[in-house]
Symmetry: C2
Subunit: 324 residues, 2 copies
């Protein structure tokens, strides 16, 4: 079987993560990175791959088996997704949870002649798969999801909008007491504030009113007001030294009963680099999308629709022999 030829749309942190994963896989090769920027200005890590402008990429369908869409859900995927899915098999990590059913419908309409695998990161993605699996195994139960400790880009961005803030990073931190309560199997009701706290590290501009910034963070509706939030002001040097990595993680936990007996199912991720791990999952899903396509499947699919063997570079026989 010839190698799966991959295109990456959008060369940010996740795109670079996909590139690394594709280059590490013996059954895939990176053909091109597709960018909105001037291709001349984009330098990629893979010497053998090309950089194409997004405006010229669409005629290249015969050179690429699957496009991994690495843009953001809010600004990019809503438009790019259907546009690419009309011509290419696609994989993305669309993560605006409330709009997923609508996006799935749009992608399904676009993917008449292709496979479009949506929402393939770790949440949505692996976490969704585990919610489905543990819900099926333990129907009478309660789901809990904890995120972190890890950087939330959305919350970090929100702090940066405040006047007087030079740079900022926000860590979402699960509260241990809540995790232990969920793990007990007693299916406790936990409030937003009980489940997570938010740690903010802020570099302020010279002369900025620190008390004012702290107040603005802590009272920001939707982002911080419903949480116990700490704001720590640090120097540019400390920010550069300690807060450049993008760790993340979290857990999906389900407690439930069969008659008198309690059971707990737990799935946890501890990631040193969120974009690299997300890229690795997207690469596995790109493999699955191409396999589905080669079997004659068409339309938009989700991680809940794929047999696990499709994600692996190894043969079903090998998986059965070694993992079952």
């Amino acid at each position: 079987m010839s190698k799966i030829r991959v295109g990456i749309v959008g060369y940010g942190n996740v795109g670079k993560g996909v590139e690394k994963a594709v280059n590490a896989a013996s059954d895939m090769e990176l053909v091109a990175v597709i960018t909105r920027r001037d291709p001349q200005s984009v330098s990629i890590a893979t010497a053998s791959a090309k950089v194409w402008s997004i405006t010229e990429s669409l005629p290249m369908a015969d050179q690429i088996d699957v496009m991994v869409l690495c843009g953001g859900s809010a600004a990019d995927l809503g438009v790019q997704g259907p546009q690419f899915a009309r011509i290419f098999n696609t994989v993305d990590s669309y993560d605006t949870h409330a709009r997923i059913p609508e996006y799935l419908t749009e992608m399904d309409a676009a993917a008449q002649n292709t496979v479009a695998l949506i929402s393939c990161g770790w949440d949505p993605g692996l976490f969704s798969m585990l919610r489905a699996l543990s819900g099926a195994a333990l129907p009478d139960g309660t789901d809990y999801t904890f995120w972190g400790r890890g950087v939330s880009q959305g919350h970090s961005d929100a702090i940066r909008q405040i006047a007087g803030v030079k740079s900022a990073v926000q860590y979402t931190v699960p509260i241990n007491k809540a995790v232990e309560a969920a793990r007990s199997g007693n299916n406790p009701v936990l409030s937003t504030r009980e489940k997570h706290r938010r740690e903010c590290y802020v570099v302020a501009e010279e002369g900025a009113d620190l008390a004012q910034i702290e107040l603005a963070v802590k009272t920001m509706p939707h982002y911080f007001a419903e949480y116990d939030t700490t704001v720590t002001f640090i120097s540019t040097e400390e920010f550069q030294e300690k807060h450049q990595k993008m760790p993340h993680g979290g857990m999906v936990l389900r407690g439930g009963n069969t008659g008198e007996n309690k059971h707990v199912i737990e799935f946890a991720l501890k990631l040193e680099s969120n974009p690299e791990f997300t890229g690795s999952v997207l690469a596995a899903c790109a493999r699955a999308a191409v396999r589905l396509y080669r079997e004659g499947i068409r339309g938009a699919k989700t991680p809940l629709d794929i047999p696990l063997t499709y994600l692996s570079p190894r043969s079903r026989d090998e998986l059965v022999q070694e993992l079952l």
Copy 2:
């Protein structure tokens, strides 16, 4: 859609667990328990279901959509599996790991007109699914499986074979230091002895030589010799009071890298009743087997071959909306 009509073959602890799970599911109904014993002597919990002798059950194919085979792998499934799969859709928890590929081939040959879903408990089963999923997400890594703390029936049985032993129970216990080492993401090499220890509780017959029993347990090859094993003699009363439950659990852990960055994926089960949880997983797999059959799929399948939506009583739309 009419309810899925279920038969249970073998009414031991797992069979009773399946019965509970089927009765709790709104889309399934228990039609019959099939037994090797005299049907008159078997009293089941479901008033509306019948008890049939295994010798008369085979002509009943039009009354049952799926047979859940609850016999043991060693003595029962090798024969019963292909026999039932020729006529019925089947689900089983075949767990002789080394012989699974061979059993899959035999079941595939038998299931010409049916679906036979094999090895559907939690190991093999859920743990296998998690090994496949985490291996695909993190190809450059190492798998670890820990079992327990829980009762191993095989090891408990082995102790009971020793002269002078009246009753016995064996708990497999993961060693915390090994779990933490695996969790570190440093991919340590761990020996059998480092990963688990074995706790045995033994009721001896009156006048038995306790030192002799202890020695026989601790030096038993394959079962105990490679482990740090403790043997505690207890009274019949204590045995009855403290060791009648069948808790179990364990974890599948994968540590791996993407370039410079380490990641850890962990899946853990904590079960108060191993047979009831196993029964609950088998019931979900029975649903999947019938759905595959209704879509025209035939042959032997494994948990690695099933899209997760097939396991759930909920519709795909609901799962996408609420879990993705």
